[in-house]
C-alpha cells in the first residue's frame, strides 16, 4: 500500500507542477487510526501529506457537486470552474460518472486518479475485533500486509488480524473493483470481482414478509434524522430535499418513526439508476443502521428490470426518464371482470 500512496503523491505533485489542476481531493492520515481523512490539497507541497491504505473508505465524489454549483454571479466577473483531481476507488469512479452524467461535474474539469481496490476495511468490524482481542478499541497504529492487518494498542500490544474478514460487506459483494475510465490508474492490487449472486438484498428478500417488516422497523427506529446518510451520498446532492421542504411539508421534521421510514424509503427510491452501492450511507450512519438490505434493492431492480448498471456509460439515458414498450407490467392489477 505504501507504494500506492507514493504513486498518488508523485502524480499529484506532477499535476500541480504542470498547472493542470487547482485542487486535489484525496486522503490524509486521520486522527484515529481507524480511518483515513478526506483532504483538499491545493499545492504540490500539500500533496506530500496524501496517503493510501485500507481505511480510505470515504467516497470522495460527494464533494464535487458543491464545487461546480453555479452561484448567481455578476456579469463579467464569472468565477472560473476549478480543475479538480479526485482519488477514486472503483465505486467512487462510478459515482463520478453518475455525477458527470447528471451534469453535476464537467468531465473536462476532472482528473480522475483511479485506484484498483482490494476492499476497504470496515471500521466497526475492526473495532469489534480489537475489543475481542484486547478488551478495548483503542489503536495507535495500523499497518498492513497482503493478507493481514496489524493494529498496535496504546500499551504497545500488537494484534494481527486476517484482512478479508475485516473488509466491508459492500466490498465483499463488489462486482467492479477496478475503476474504468480514469485519467490515470495507479498500479495496485484488486480483489476478485463478486458475481452478484447472493448479496444482502437477496438474503433479505428471502425472509418472510412480516420478518422483513420487523427488521426494517427495527433498523429505522434507531434513526436520529441526522441526515448523515444523505450528506455522505454523492448522488444526494439536491439543494432542497423533500425531507426538509415546508411547502409542502411532505413529512414531519422529527425522528417520528413513520416520518423516518418515509424519509429512507423515498431517499432510497431517489437513488434508482444512480446508486453505485458504495455504502457511503451505511458507513456514515452514527447509529450503525444497516441500510444495505433496503438500499441495495433499488440497484438490483434497476439492473434486473431495466438492464441498467449506473456509473459506466455517459450516453444512455437514465433509466427513469425513458421506457421500453415491453417493460414488465406483471405488477399491474387486473381486476376480475364482473
Amino acid at each position: 500500500m505504501a507504494g500506492v500512496a507514493e504513486d498518488i503523491r508523485r502524480l499529484a505533485g506532477e499535476l500541480f507542477q504542470a498547472g493542470k489542476i487547482d485542487l486535489l481531493i484525496g486522503f490524509e492520515q486521520g486522527t484515529g487510526s481507524y480511518r483515513a481523512r478526506p483532504v483538499f490539497v491545493e499545492s504540490a507541497a500539500g500533496a506530500e501529506g496524501l496517503t493510501w491504505d485500507s481505511t480510505c473508505s470515504s467516497n470522495l465524489a460527494v464533494y464535487l457537486p458543491s464545487l461546480f454549483r453555479r452561484e448567481p454571479q455578476k456579469k463579467g466577473a464569472e468565477r472560473a470552474l476549478p480543475r479538480v483531481a479526485v482519488v477514486a476507488k472503483a465505486c467512487d469512479m462510478r459515482s463520478l460518472v453518475a455525477l458527470i452524467k447528471e451534469k453535476q461535474a464537467p468531465r473536462e474539469n476532472l482528473f480522475i486518479i483511479g485506484i484498483p481496490c482490494r476492499g476497504m476495511v470496515d471500521e466497526r468490524k475492526l473495532a469489534a475485533e480489537m475489543e475481542k482481542a484486547t478488551g478495548r478499541v483503542d489503536v495507535t497504529d495500523l499497518s498492513e500486509s497482503e493478507d493481514s492487518i496489524c493494529a498496535t494498542t496504546p500499551d504497545g500490544r500488537k494484534v494481527e488480524m486476517a484482512r478479508e474478514p475485516l473488509v466491508q460487506d459492500a466490498c465483499r459483494e463488489c462486482r467492479f473493483p477496478v475503476p474504468q475510465g480514469a485519467d490515470a490508474t495507479v498500479a495496485a492490487p484488486s480483489r476478485p470481482p463478486a458475481n452478484g449472486d447472493d448479496g444482502a438484498v437477496l438474503q433479505f428478500s428471502r425472509r418472510a414478509d412480516e420478518e422483513r417488516w420487523k427488521s426494517f422497523e427495527e433498523e429505522i427506529s434507531r434513526c436520529i434524522r441526522c441526515y448523515a446518510c444523505r450528506q455522505a451520498c454523492p448522488t444526494c446532492y439536491c439543494t432542497e430535499c423533500f425531507a426538509e421542504t415546508n411547502r409542502p411539508a411532505w413529512i414531519g421534521a422529527t425522528a417520528e418513526i413513520t416520518d423516518t421510514m418515509i424519509f429512507h424509503i423515498i431517499r432510497i427510491f431517489h437513488q434508482a439508476g444512480r446508486c453505485v452501492e458504495c455504502d457511503a450511507c451505511v458507513r456514515a450512519c452514527p447509529m450503525g443502521i444497516d441500510l444495505r438490505p433496503f438500499a441495495g434493492k433499488i440497484a438490483l431492480d434497476v439492473r434486473e428490470m431495466f438492464g441498467f448498471t449506473p456509473g459506466f456509460d455517459l450516453e444512455s439515458p437514465p433509466p427513469l426518464i425513458t421506457f421500453k414498450d415491453d417493460d414488465r407490467q406483471d405488477f399491474i392489477t387486473e381486476p376480475h371482470r364482473g
Binding site: 422483513r212 421510514m261 424509503i265 427510491f269 433499488i298 425513458t322 421506457f323 414498450d325
Partner: protein, 145 residues
C-alpha cells in the same frame, strides 16, 4: 378520515390517484352508468399517471389510507404519448421496494383504466377494497399523533 363506515364496522379507506384523461373519465363513466362499487374510495385527480410522485403514495399511507390505487391510461393511450410508460418504470420500482421492506403488496396497486372502462374501474375499486379489507387496517406507515 373516519374509521367507521355506514354499517358501523371498520371500512377500508382507499386513496385513488386517477389520471385526468382516462382513469378519471372511467370513474366518471362508472358513476353515470350507476355501476355499484364500494364507497371506500377518495379520488385525487392528477394530470397524468406520470405526475405520480411516490411520495404521494406513501403520504396517503401515512395519513391513514388502508390502500392506494394508482391508475392511468393503458399503454399506448397516454394523452401525453408516453407519460404512463415512463411512470410504469417508477411504479414497478415503488411496488417492489414497498413490498421488499414488508408492506403488503396489496396495499398499493397500479392499474390502467380507459375512459370507456367504467366496469373495469368499478371492479378494480372492488378488488382493491376487498384486498384491504382482508388485510385489515393499515398501521405500518400510518402516523399516530
Amino acid at each position: 378520515m373516519n374509521e367507521q363506515g355506514m354499517s358501523g364496522g371498520w371500512q377500508p379507506r382507499i386513496v385513488a390517484f386517477l389520471c385526468n384523461w382516462c382513469s378519471y373519465a372511467g370513474a366518471d363513466l362508472a358513476g353515470v352508468s350507476r355501476m355499484q362499487y364500494p364507497p371506500s374510495i377518495r379520488v385525487i385527480r392528477v394530470p397524468c399517471s406520470g405526475r405520480i410522485n411516490p411520495l404521494f403514495i406513501v403520504s396517503a399511507l401515512q395519513s391513514g389510507a388502508d390502500g392506494v390505487l394508482v391508475s392511468g391510461c393503458h399503454p399506448g393511450d397516454c394523452h401525453y404519448l408516453s407519460g404512463n410508460l415512463v411512470a410504469r418504470r417508477k411504479f414497478a420500482l415503488v411496488k417492489n421496494l414497498l413490498a421488499h421492506v414488508g408492506i403488503e403488496p396489496e396495499r398499493v396497486q397500479f392499474s390502467w383504466v380507459s375512459a370507456s372502462e367504467g366496469a373495469r374501474f368499478a371492479s378494480l375499486v372492488e378488488k382493491v377494497t376487498e384486498d384491504a379489507r382482508k388485510l385489515g387496517p393499515q398501521r405500518k406507515l400510518a402516523k399516530v399523533l
